[in-house]
């Protein structure tokens, strides 16, 4: 019904407001740009900036606080009051009827004022004149006689006593948001009961409820504004313009998809998320057994509860067996340093290959479909719990550990930003990784090349993230334990910051590739590689469409300059700085080729 143009027109009357918004947007993109080009810039923005900087949004949203909403409502009422020369209460009645669209009110009113008045219940001429000499009246609700001053009517001539009006409005308010379009108590009359009459009569408590409904109507009647779905969050988010991803971060820190109001799920689309969540509900009974929080150590069989974020588990002494939480295999088969490789993301490898006799085949097939789902679900769920654990760790890091680290290592807190950066990156990566499992589940089995490429990229992503997570979780611990500065702290800084940057780039590319549904894979295998590594050109192309992000583009170019002083290790893909190690990779020790 309502077109986008029209919604944008809605605020045409309040041009001040619009300019203000644009200014805010500019500030946002400046902040983005500075993050991109200068890692040492002052943070203090929390999740917002982090999320934005990895997403490069083409879609613009405005987060509205209750105060913002109230201000917009006031502005709309003021505009209509002015344009139509009517009372603010009448303007409110009109705006609520036309879903807070100033332009719609204007259009309809000037097209046919009489019809609009009749529809919304705004009577033109007060019908009060004939009652001038009346001293007292019988209220037609309570049938009591009242002095005339105690009688009220909403300009339609239907007098009822104040007590009955109050009761009438009270009942309507407690029945729900319908009280916003309340009409006269006389069954044959459609006169609107305005805000002024409501607030003038009812109790404080009812006033608050009414004002609450009034506030909510601005969001709930407007297709371009939605409440943040986080429990207890009071912000609403308005869609401004643009196309592309609907993922956004509310000011409360919760990231969600504006379109489906589920948690942020980039790179997977809303439809897949919906299917996946539905499937999870249906399968949850079967999942209970696998969701048990503990697994026995594969060597000593003692139950182990996973209380850290990464998949590399070390059993407590004396066993000390190192294994992978996902496949329970020895970690020596997983880490590159020990000659193995990370492959726990692959369903094919996880499935035991065996020779089936014909009788077993059909039973196997049914089991396999559950097993296949279980495989993806378990990894999806494990990454989700890793994500929430990492989020908690991040918060602990910000509130306690950074200060402690600063004390022990004699470093100013501002120099320790790389630690929180690493954790922010881990949280985001866990989120992306989690959704890649939903993606993988729905990726058609017969698209062999895509599957292979997807599983390879996912595996690489997971391995990279494991490296980062391990470094931020375990290696950091040594620097928190001593009581004097550790000489290798600077090396640690270089390593962690490097891992963060490598992982960020990798995940950005992964997200972009999955969002285009691995379209590059169809052309040729060569094309995949080039698009995956040509980050700078790809991202500047994506931004090219928006003139306002000029400052962001300069961030991109400065990065490509930066790359000159780096080299990627062929073995572990770690990006080394020429300054610290020009010939040998500081991560895996392989020589530069």
């Amino acid at each position: 019904m309502e077109s986008e143009d029209e919604m944008q027109d809605a605020w045409a009357g309040t041009s001040d407001d619009e300019f203000q918004n644009e200014e805010e947007e500019d500030e946002d993109s400046d902040a983005l740009a500075s993050d991109d080009e200068d890692d040492e810039s002052d943070y203090g923005f929390g999740f917002n900036d982090f999320q934005l900087s990895t997403r490069r949004p083409q879609t613009i949203f405005t987060v509205l606080s209750e105060q913002d909403i109230r201000q917009r409502q006031d502005e709309a009422v003021a505009t209509i009051t002015n344009f139509l020369s009517i009372s603010p209460a009448d303007a409110g009645v009109l705006l609520r009827h036309f879903k807070w669209s100033v332009s719609k009110v204007n259009d309809e009113w000037f097209a046919d004022e009489e019809r609009v008045r009749a529809n919304v219940g705004l009577l033109e001429k007060p019908a009060t004149s004939k009652r001038k000499n009346v001293k007292e009246m019988t209220c037609q609700i309570c049938f009591e006689v009242h002095p005339f001053e105690k009688m009220k009517e909403p300009r339609c001539g239907h007098y009822f006593c104040e007590i009955c009006w109050t009761g009438y409005i009270h009942t309507a308010i407690n029945d729900g948001p319908g009280c916003l379009t309340l009409r006269c108590a006389d069954p044959s009359c459609g006169a609107a009961i305005g805000e002024d009459m409501v607030l003038g009569l009812v109790s404080k408590e009812d006033q608050q409820k009414y004002m609450r409904y009034l506030l909510r109507s601005y969001v709930e009647d407007n297709r371009k504004v939605k409440w943040c779905p986080a429990p207890g969050c009071e912000y609403a988010v308005e869609y401004q313009a643009g196309v592309g991803s609907y993922d956004l971060v509310c000011k409360c820190g919760f990231s969600f998809c504006w379109n489906c109001r589920e948690e942020a799920h980039r790179p997977v689309d809303c439809e897949t998320v919906n299917k996946w969540i539905l499937k999870n509900c249906a399968e949850s009974e079967n999942m209970n057994w696998i969701l048990a929080n503990s697994k026995p150590c594969p060597k000593c069989k003692r139950p182990i509860e996973k209380n850290q974020g990464c998949m590399h588990i070390t059993c407590t002494p004396p066993c000390k067996f190192e294994f992978c939480w996902l496949c329970l295999g020895a970690w020596t088969d997983h880490g590159e340093r020990t000659g193995g490789f990370y492959a726990c993301n692959r369903y094919e490898t996880a499935k035991q290959e065996g020779v089936y006799d014909e009788a077993e085949r059909r039973r196997e097939m049914a089991k396999n479909s559950l097993e296949r789902y279980t495989h993806y679900y378990e990894r999806w769920a494990t990454n989700e719990s890793s994500r929430s654990k990492a989020l908690a760790d991040l918060q602990l890091m910000q509130s306690v550990k950074v200060d402690k680290l600063s004390d022990i290592q004699c470093q100013p807190v501002s120099q320790l930003k790389f630690v929180t950066d690493a954790w922010l990156q881990i949280v985001e990566c866990r989120r992306v990784l989690k959704w890649t499992y939903a993606y993988g589940y729905y990726l058609p089995e017969n698209e062999q090349t895509k599957r292979q490429f997807f599983e390879y990229s996912q595996g690489e992503a997971e391995a990279g993230l494991e490296r980062l997570h391990q470094c931020a979780e375990k290696e950091l611990q040594t620097f928190l334990e001593g009581d004097s500065p550790n000489s290798s702290f600077n090396d640690f800084r270089t390593k962690l910051a490097g891992l963060t940057s490598v992982t960020r780039t990798y995940f950005e590319n992964l997200v972009r590739a999955l969002e285009s549904n691995l379209s590059d894979v169809d052309i040729s295998k060569g094309a995949v590689k080039s698009s995956n590594s040509s980050k700078a050109s790809g991202s500047s192309k994506a931004r090219g469409g928006r003139p306002k992000s000029g400052s962001t583009r300069s961030g991109g170019s400065s990065r490509s300059g930066e790359e000159m002083a780096h080299w990627s290790c062929e073995h572990c893909t770690y990006v080394n700085t020429t300054a610290t190690s020009s010939n040998v990779c500081i991560i895996c020790g392989y020589p530069r080729s």
Partner: protein, 162 residues
């Protein structure tokens, strides 16, 4: 007479409700709506009303009984109005006595009275051209078996012709 145990909370009438009902009753006694008779009981909160089918209608000569229960905050809240056994055969009246009539639910207004409800019900009866139960009678009555009040039904008012 099975229609007494509805789920409505039996709260005593508020002072305002009692005053208003007393006045309505007095007015009724002076000027009762044509075709209705209030059966005297000792309860102000539950009225039993005799309904006489209007002459020259399908219900001529028939007698029905309405049971009207008033909530604590009458008239701000609508009274619960049902036919006692046996209810008239009418496309908007279910065999358990529930009446599909908008003014008893969504369109109730405190400016209405028992008298105006009665007139609406009689008009609904009089305009009927067929003596039949609503098409979904079986299903609806089954759903109300646990003594649900018609006020808890989400009514969908089919048409205003009958």
């Amino acid at each position: 007479m099975s229609s007494s145990g509805y789920g409505q909370k039996e709260k005593v009438l508020s002072r305002i409700a009692a005053n208003r009902l007393q006045k309505e009753l007095t007015e009724w006694q002076v000027n009762p709506p044509c075709g209705f008779r209030h059966r005297v009981t000792d309860s102000l909160q539950r009225w039993i009303i005799e309904v006489h089918g209007a002459p020259n209608t399908l219900y001529e000569g028939e007698e029905f009984h309405l049971q009207v229960d008033f909530p604590e905050h009458y008239p701000m809240e609508a009274p619960q109005v049902v036919f006692m056994q046996i209810p008239p055969l009418h496309p908007h009246i279910y065999s358990n006595g529930h009446i599909c009539l908008d003014i008893l639910y969504d369109s109730w207004s405190p400016a209405m009275t028992v008298s105006s409800i009665c007139i609406s019900i009689l008009s609904m009866l009089s305009s009927s051209t067929v003596k039949a139960r609503p098409p979904d009678d079986d299903q609806y009555v089954r759903n109300c078996r646990n003594g649900r009040s018609p006020k808890e039904t989400r009514w969908w008012f089919h048409d205003d012709k009958v």
